[in-house]
Subunit: 598 residues, 2 copies
């Protein structure tokens, strides 16, 4: 029986028929790889996700982590799953060989990761945060920091976190107050409280490597005074063994609506519970230069944003497959007009409105998967493209797409989960079925790693205008290459190409109209409808890419691609018309309303 | 401090400034009432809801009902709340005086009910199901059934349920298999299983009155063979005291994502646990005529559908007010362009995108409240309008609006709850705040009492076409009276009137276009987008009514009404354009897709 986590067939189509993953093996960076190593990793990921991550999906929701005032307890299945995962080497699949990784393309590791996110979003967060942490240290840490902290993370012995928010400073990082005082020996002592720390405390691994934003007293005010520190839970001796307990301790856990398998902690730094070396404060090691912390953290943050979109997609995808399986099995009612009650009931997939809900989900989740993989492919280009211009082009295009790949799946794959519940009827609303948990788990994604509204400001306030709108221009240009390929095919593909072409024109014209008064308050008043419209345009582009790839190929799989594309172009893309109209009109309704009138 | 459950000021505006509730007191049916009795009931409802329902809102979510194999346990706060509620007489506020009710307009009791639904949707379900049950028996039961079962329900001693679904028959009631065998003495014995029974078993009251759909052997097949029975949990002696235990027993409870305070049970009838009178089967009393059960049940169902919409609205409303209060208190960030980190942080209501999310919510929940009260006013007209034509007009218009008032709040007030979470950021995703529970509770509403898709078939398949489209025509005609009033005012109101007028034209034209091939499969293939578009048109109408009422009045309250109307006309109504286009084009995408291609 086919998996209800993801579709192997769809992955093969996207990786090999569309994105030509094999071509990457011609590049020096990936020279040790081949179609066989790729498929081996994908098969392994499916197997481990199915056998070790999926089985405790509901268990870790029903038995969320708890804090006894001293220690954080997590169900044992999580530790076991992470051990198996690390043993397979999948956790370092795309890490460089220099630290023990397999140096596979991100395109392949992203596809592998999706199996784990679909199987168990909560458990997968531990290793995925860890690889983001390791990637940051690889880019900006010292060799000693890499040896001390990254290697054990690659081996699966340590996990990593990112500690940005504080109770008074969530989206507004300039207001953090955690301070890092120089200890005189090149190290620092940190004092402060961090909030919303995923994987912030647990005993799943020997040690936890916190990457912490803090301010060195006397530095510049605001974001320019933020530095980045490594703060391990346990100090690490020179020989790599664990040393003293550092003074970073959990002060409590957050109890969430979903995503419960992942510990989410309030952490106190330097509260005095421990005194490493006999001194107060949590020992921290400066990463890179002082006051450059936010810039370094954004390195991780951009990766995390793509990861959030990928997770949202994966949860949407499995919800789709589960509701499809249910719709094919569940008997209920008869076709319209067939009122003879002696006729047997039919599977609900026979009801048009159920097919509508399936096709909508399919268009959302397969469109999102295409975008996630497209972005991963761009990331690989930034590392491995033959020429400098190609690397820069990929970097800028990925920069333009980052707010979309973060926000679009976070919105529409929750919508997919909503439809998956609806297809299940009352059953879908019970905890006996998986879909209600997917809906709850997925609802975090528009919040963390930059809220939906912040992605909108990033797109219309930065990506659409920086360097004369170069980034957005590259996005439109890339989509237009698909328009040209589709036009050449004629038929439905050409019709879609015309629709997309018009929407791309509106994408740039609307950004210009929004900014035509030159006033950021006016331009950005409707940034969110703009983000949502451009998101739909980008997914329409992903669907055009897919039908072009499927052109001339026969069979149910390709017919499904064509049907989902038809759904997206007929039912979804037209939504963008009124959104672009609104933004282009510089509508002032939300800008002008007085808070007192609310 | 103003309540965060509902807005008293808004209720006063809608009831007295718009719907002229006082005018009802001139009608014989409501002659005992006055503005004072109305306001007294509203104040009492607010107080009891605030003091006795709201405090255990989260407790009953965290401690859902459980079944020990014998008995169903519900936290004691629920029983206490229901006792207080019954003591106040609010449970029979709009019931006829003949059975001990206060015979107030439904308009007033609906407003009162909203306080309870906002305070605690789960607890409020017990009395609200009971009044629906009582209303059905009052309309179709015998005098003996009314005396035996309705009076104790009015007194709060018994509660009621409706038992329709079975494991193999949810939306498809023609497939129920519960059978009712004549016992020879005019009573029946029932055998079968019922599923999804809200308030299906508990010990909150002395007795439970189940209204059960079953088939009498030998009757017609399908829905034409369905009869309705009263099946009490305990038989009732002639003197009103409780007699033997009837053979209706819980077989298990459903564990839901939300709405957990309301028991939801699988009930077995006649499984043999009890043998009342020494005979097998659950004793049932036929209501009205044999084989007319579905028609009677629809009497209750239509009321239940309006109640579902009202509940969805109330949960949306309180989420709005809670997120508004949070947005006014929570300090975070600085206005756009004010980057000086030494400036103090501002309340997040100062951020435009937060105001967007508040205004969106406001437009949804206040629009939904207006519709709920408008429908209640129509219901009162069906009972009390001076002339027969007026009563019939109200009945048909209410019939047209029923799928809208059920489905629109069930969709958009969940969307409001989603925005309420988003405004709270990470906090909104935790169980420390209320909004995540509202989101979970509210998600049931598009499922029960006829799914969203079934409402769509009802609107486009019945209400738009029966009697030459008379019902939909009356809806459009009623909305056009508001268009005329608004046009006469000029300014923004006249501009909105033009927009609504055009949308009303599309409402009828699109229904005609959908049906132009005469093929139900084609016409109804896009019934759901049609439902959603017409829902938005109806809410735009409700906003036009409100700004017309607010015309010329000054102050923050009226400015708020104007701002929310502007939001709805600028940001929301335009969504309907592409939806109408799609339906009118008789798009076949979802009709034609093969299940194999999904």
């Amino acid at each position: 029986m086919a998996s209800t986590l993801l579709s192997e067939r769809d992955l093969q189509f996207l990786l090999y028929e569309w994105l030509d993953a094999e071509a990457l093996t011609a590049r020096p960076r990936y020279a040790d790889h081949s179609r066989e190593t790729f498929d081996g990793a994908l098969d392994l990921a499916e197997r481990v996700a199915t056998d070790h991550f999926a089985p405790h999906f509901k268990t870790s929701d029903a038995n969320e982590p708890h804090f006894d005032g001293e220690r954080v307890h997590v169900i044992p299945e999580v530790k076991k799953a992470l051990e198996v995962y690390a043993e397979t080497g999948l956790n370092s699949l795309s890490m460089p060989e220099s630290v023990g990784g397999a140096q596979a393309p991100r395109l392949i590791s992203s596809a592998c990761n999706a199996w784990f996110q679909a199987a168990n979003l909560g458990t997968s967060a531990y290793p995925f945060l860890t690889s983001g942490n390791a990637a940051l240290l690889l880019a900006h840490g010292s060799q000693e920091q890499i040896d001390t902290f990254v290697r054990p993370m690659v081996e699966g012995r340590f996990t990593g976190t990112m500690c940005l928010s504080e109770p008074q400073a969530g989206s507004s990082l300039s207001d953090i107050t955690t301070r890092a005082e120089p200890a005189g020996d090149g190290t620092y002592r940190l004092f402060g409280n961090k909030m919303w720390i995923s994987a912030g405390d647990h005993e799943l691994t020997e040690n936890i490597v916190h990457l912490v934003l803090a301010k060195i007293p006397g530095g510049p005010a605001g974001v320019k005074g933020i530095s980045l520190f490594v703060v391990p839970k346990h100090l690490v001796n020179d020989d790599g063994t664990l040393g003293e307990r550092n003074d970073v301790v959990p002060a409590g856990l957050n109890h969430k609506m979903g995503y419960r398998g992942t510990v989410n902690a309030l952490l106190n730094f330097g509260e005095g519970r421990h005194t490493p070396g006999g001194e107060p404060g949590a020992v921290g090691y400066l990463v890179g230069e002082a006051h450059q912390g936010l810039q370094y953290m954004f390195h991780m943050m951009n990766g995390a944003r793509i990861g959030v979109g990928a997770g949202a997609m994966a949860v949407g995808y499995t919800g789709y497959l589960k509701s499809l399986a249910y719709a094919r099995e569940r008997l209920q009612g008869r076709p319209l007009g067939a009122k003879d009650p002696d006729q047997p009931q039919v599977p609900i997939v026979e009801h048009t409105d159920v097919r509508r809900m399936l096709l909508a989900q399919k268009s959302y989740v397969e469109g999102a998967l295409a975008l996630v993989l497209y972005c991963a492919r761009l990331y690989d280009d930034t590392l491995s493209h033959e020429d400098q211009a190609g690397r820069e082009h990929a970097d800028l295009l990925l920069d333009a797409l980052t707010p979309i790949v973060k926000s679009w799946p976070s919105q529409w794959c929750v919508a997919a989960n909503d439809l998956a519940i609806q297809i299940h009827g009352g059953y879908g609303y019970t905890r006996e079925y998986d879909v209600e948990q997917h809906y709850r788990d997925n609802r975090l994604n528009p919040i963390h790693e930059g809220t939906h509204g912040i992605q909108a400001l990033d797109l219309l306030g930065r990506k659409a205008v920086l360097d004369g709108g170069k980034r957005l221009g590259l996005l439109v240009e890339a989509a237009r290459t698909a328009v040209e390929r589709a036009r050449a095919l004629g038929g439905a593909e050409a019709a879609y190409a015309d629709l997309l072409d018009a929407a791309l024109t509106r994408t740039t014209e609307t950004a210009a109209a929004a900014w035509s008064e030159g006033d950021p308050a006016v331009a950005l008043a409707n940034a969110t409808p703009y983000l949502e419209a451009v998101g739909h345009v980008v997914i329409a582009w992903m669907w055009l890419e897919q039908v072009v790839t499927a052109h001339g190929r026969e069979g149910a799989f390709y017919d499904g691609k064509r049907a989902a594309a038809a759904y997206f172009f007929h039912h979804e893309l037209p939504r963008t018309g009124p959104q672009f109209d609104l933004v282009a009109s510089r509508d002032r309704t939300v800008l002008d309303v007085s808070p007192d009138a609310l």
